[in-house]
Symmetry: C2
């Protein structure tokens, strides 16, 4: 499972950072999910190996423009690139009507269907290889976090149990191993009951804008990674609360309280400069978070990619 | 008067070319006009010396997404950059309602007023230093060309006429020279009647998508420069006509027929590759146009800048 940051700036793009867009790639194949789609996200995708045809779903955390103004363009380009497969869009109320109005005004006919799921219903959405749960956050508008948990985790057959049950070695074992339930001696046997999972399923929580990280306690249970905004440092705490954002220490304190293994901060205000010698810089955000959090801390930047391996180990992918 | 290309690709962005956006800068000061605003135009602006505060107006040629999806984001960023001055938007019907719906859905409050002018009324819009006339084109949707003619052209006083009229040398001469009409001996005297213009006013025509260049005959009268799409070469003529676009020879033939001094082609289909060794490449478009047009031909690319000097001489600005 890989995380690739396509945009890490808050509100407006800068020369070094685009507005929000995060790609989550499945561990098998090329399938990926796009979480938020600020303007220019399709341009960032062009600079990666991701393709519009292998995009499984777009999930929008909230309606602010820096998280959704890239939607019409990425859909138009996917269409012009020949996409035919339906695309799921999980988004707060408003996005569906706005996209429909945009298609009508700009005479955009898409050659694939859009399947909308309203985030406001806190849906659990199941994809072939991924289950997504939705959690409510606190911001100026309705805003959500999406927790991605992999399905079809590698497992070994529980030979002892299979033998006890008298299931003969052969095709039935194979079906159970591949995750299919079977009928045996007039009984429905569930695949999961005859498998021993080697590892916990991988789980990544990606949160939208939020001034109350503690809302993510349930979401973070069993998660190896939380991606959360840290728009400011504590020095700007008053401004942060006014505009519904977090500062580094607030997120770090929460992550520490739930003993989260890996925390990735993103969505930095342009006031924090990219150059670590400048003041204030992104390094100020890092220092503040580091002082409160004893897990592994990362600060996102555009095109930074991470991998979460089967065993739950999370690490940076060396850039090419 | 300077022309700076911010995007020169048709339909979708490529790694080398963004979708349409053209900046026209006034000869005096920092004022500029943005013609079309595809997604990512604000990102391109960040890479130039243009500022959101000195933007005088945005003019949209038509409602297709590759010409307008960057509008909400550029307005949001201008607001976050502190712009307070009203902004004129000249655009076809639909854009106003769409922008208003976008602002409402995405809770975008702008700290400056938008003043909409409907292109469909073929308006002549007067700015302090520029007069803009609108011309109807032929495309799949209502589409327009904008002709920019500079005002306040350098001029000398007509001393003979002033003396004949008995106007005393002094402040009145100064006012006439600066373009102000005056009252003298109970009569209103127009500044333009007492000035000798050294040069023809500079005039640049910027056309949107169009499959009938001959519609620009009137627009091109007295123009030094026409910017026109050449999405395809003649090999793709049938496709071009189907989708309402021009191919190189069609535009070149027209430019030749009106003895246009300078032609800039842009809005190239991504099928024409940037690499001149590839096939088909942008160079195929150049060759086809060159064979039919004896004026000065340019092919636009992103960040290519041109200057049109007082005397009407048009040339590339050396990049830094």
């Amino acid at each position: 499972m890989n995380l690739l940051f396509l945009g890490t700036s808050a509100g407006v793009p800068t020369k070094q950072r685009n507005v929000t867009g995060i790609a989550l790639r499945e561990s098998k194949g090329k399938g990926w999910y796009l979480i938020d789609c600020g303007e220019g996200t399709q341009h960032q995708v062009l600079r990666t190996k991701l393709t519009f045809n292998s995009l499984k779903a777009i999930l929008i955390t909230h309606v602010h423009g820096d998280h959704c103004y890239g939607l019409p363009g990425i859909l138009a380009s996917a269409g012009m690139n020949g996409r035919k497969a339906p695309l799921t869009i999980v988004a707060p109320a408003g996005i569906k009507a706005w996209l429909e109005a945009t298609c009508e005004t700009t005479q955009l006919g898409l050659p694939f269907a859009l399947e909308f799921v309203a985030s406001d219903d806190l849906p659990s959405v199941e994809f072939a290889n991924m289950a997504v749960a939705t959690f409510r956050l606190s911001h100026r508008v309705a805003c959500y976090a999406y927790a991605f948990t992999e399905k079809n985790v590698d497992a070994a057959l529980d030979i002892e149990k299979l033998t006890q049950k008298g299931i003969p070695r052969g095709p039935l074992w194979g079906q159970l191993k591949q995750g299919f339930d079977i009928e045996f001696a007039g009984e429905l046997l569930k695949s999961a009951d005859y498998l021993i999972f080697k590892n916990k399923p991988r789980k990544v929580v990606i949160a939208g804008d939020n001034d109350r990280p503690e809302l993510l306690i349930d979401a973070c249970a069993g998660a190896q990674v939380l991606v959360h905004e840290a728009t400011y440092t504590q020095e700007m705490a008053q401004k942060a609360i006014e505009v519904g954002h977090s500062y580094a220490k607030l997120v770090a304190d929460f992550a520490e309280s739930v003993t989260l293994p890996n925390l990735v901060l993103t969505h930095f205000s342009p006031r924090y400069q990219f150059n670590p010698q400048a003041s204030p810089s992104i390094e100020d955000i890092r220092k503040e978070a580091q002082s409160a959090y004893s897990g592994v801390l990362y600060l996102a930047r555009d095109f930074l990619e991470f991998t979460l391996d089967k065993s739950g180990h999370f690490s940076e992918v060396a850039s090419e």
